[in-house]
Amino acid sequence: MDHPLTNNYRLLIFYTLFWAIIGITNFILLVIWYNVPLIYALLDTSTTFILFPLMGSSIWYSIRYNSLEDVSAGSLILFHFIAASILCAIWISITYAIFKPFMDDGNQYLANSLPFKIFGGYVMYAVFLVFFYAVNYYQSLKEKIKKEAQYKTLLREAELQALKSQINPHFLFNSLNSISSLTVSNPEKAQEMVINLSTFMRYSLTHEQKEMVTFARELENIKLYLGIEKVRFGKKLNTEFVIDEHCLVAEIPNMILQPLFENAIKYGVYETTDQVTIKTTCRCEGNILKFTIVNDYDASSLQRKGEGIGLRNIRKRMQITYNQPDLIKIKDYKTSFEVQLIIPQKPTMS
């Protein structure tokens, strides 16, 4: 830890000015009031208000590693009393050494001032102590606030990261199996699917980099995803899109839609033998993007238990991102299931 006086320019100025003002006042008093010869007044003032504060600044190191909370009051007082005594002793010795050549001319002023310096030294030590404790306290507080803010950002990022959808391995392996089959029966189609799957995977794997994307970009990815699933499910999967053109520029959290479609396929297409339609509607209302996805499902073979992990994660992610509850609405119509996302937009958007 660097010394605050060398580290903080403003603190150094404050510390210097403080002692300078007292020093100059002292000097003027000595000369005008007590008629002390100029040279003695200068020597006295400079040793007290330049030399000693310089030495005193070293107590920072003892304070830095001796926080008020960790040590008992008694040992703290004892510690500082001893430290003050040592510092005073050194200071007075140096002062005496400086004074000595000037004391030979018979003037008693300098010699007489020495005992007073012992008392003054302790008082000034106390001033240093208060000053550096205050500095230390202020710095730790600032550091703590900074760390807390950092921690909060990290936590939020980690939370968002955890909530982001991961590509379902089931989807990946089934798609690979479809490709494996196509390489035999329809190599061109196999190639097309490999490319689609790669594009989709690339989007999903790099999506950590940017939190927000345009709706158009996200939609493109969804269509890719549904295209891959259509190869697997054939006629069983039918999709419909009703999208307001001007919604396309809206900003939405990336990969927030994919889990919705994954769910629709899991509960809709997977569990039935009939054709299932996934209908997607998107409208802009003022500063809100309303995204709705409806899928049929077979209630006879499935007992829907409201919100699964997928939907819960989206709910949480929306809440963290927009700091607003209830941005996801779920309706179960017994033969169809509806999920609506309400995505707030910046007011500048029309």
Partner: protein
Amino acid sequence: MSKKLQTLIIEDEELARTLLRSYLKDHPDIEIIGECENGFDGVKAINEKKPDLVFLDIQMPKITGFEMIELLDHKPQIIFTTAYDQYALKAFELNAVDYLLKPFSKERMLMAIEKVIHHIHNAESNIEKLEELSNFRPGEAYIDRVVVKDRHKIHIITVDKIRYIESLDDYVMIYTQDGRHMKQKTMKYFETYLDPKNFIRIHRSFIVQVDNIAEIQQYEKDSYVVILKDKDKTKLKVSKTGYKKIKEVLHF
């Protein structure tokens, strides 16, 4: 091998079926006798055609491959196919029944067939292994549906429809709002896999759905009966430990 293995493919995805078909096309010991797209048709086809070997997908619409096994009268050799299911894989590892992880190579599939032929030659039955697998519930701790077969019809009963279950030796009778269904499973199975918050084993012979209990009556010192919410006011005996469990769940 004197006779070709009569083989059935049960798989919901067209492309997966195509692949299996092309792998099996030239195999000298295999004759494909049919293909099914879902578990319902699969059960029917197995019971009617009695194949020697079945390639069975696990995740399928309506009922899963595991659930299908419960409904079979005829138990063929089975090679499971699955894309990814960590729970199911666990079950397979504990079990010698062979399985293929999608996507799989032709060589890997041939190995599985070799294994099956070996089983048949040594007259090793895999019925026990299959039963074990059918008792296995992948993924979730509690089941949310039960599949039953009455004569030729398969019913899927979501657990919220179950009123109570009665034990009948090797079978259980499942009473629902619409009727009753017999199933070859143990009480222990249902006690383990039905959510204990909703279902209580009140007696050696009964498991009852909590929401279905209308009243609990004392009819002798230390013995109780549960009266159900139906028009017949069905009475079920409660054992001592059963009574304790009811008290725990209903907090009285």
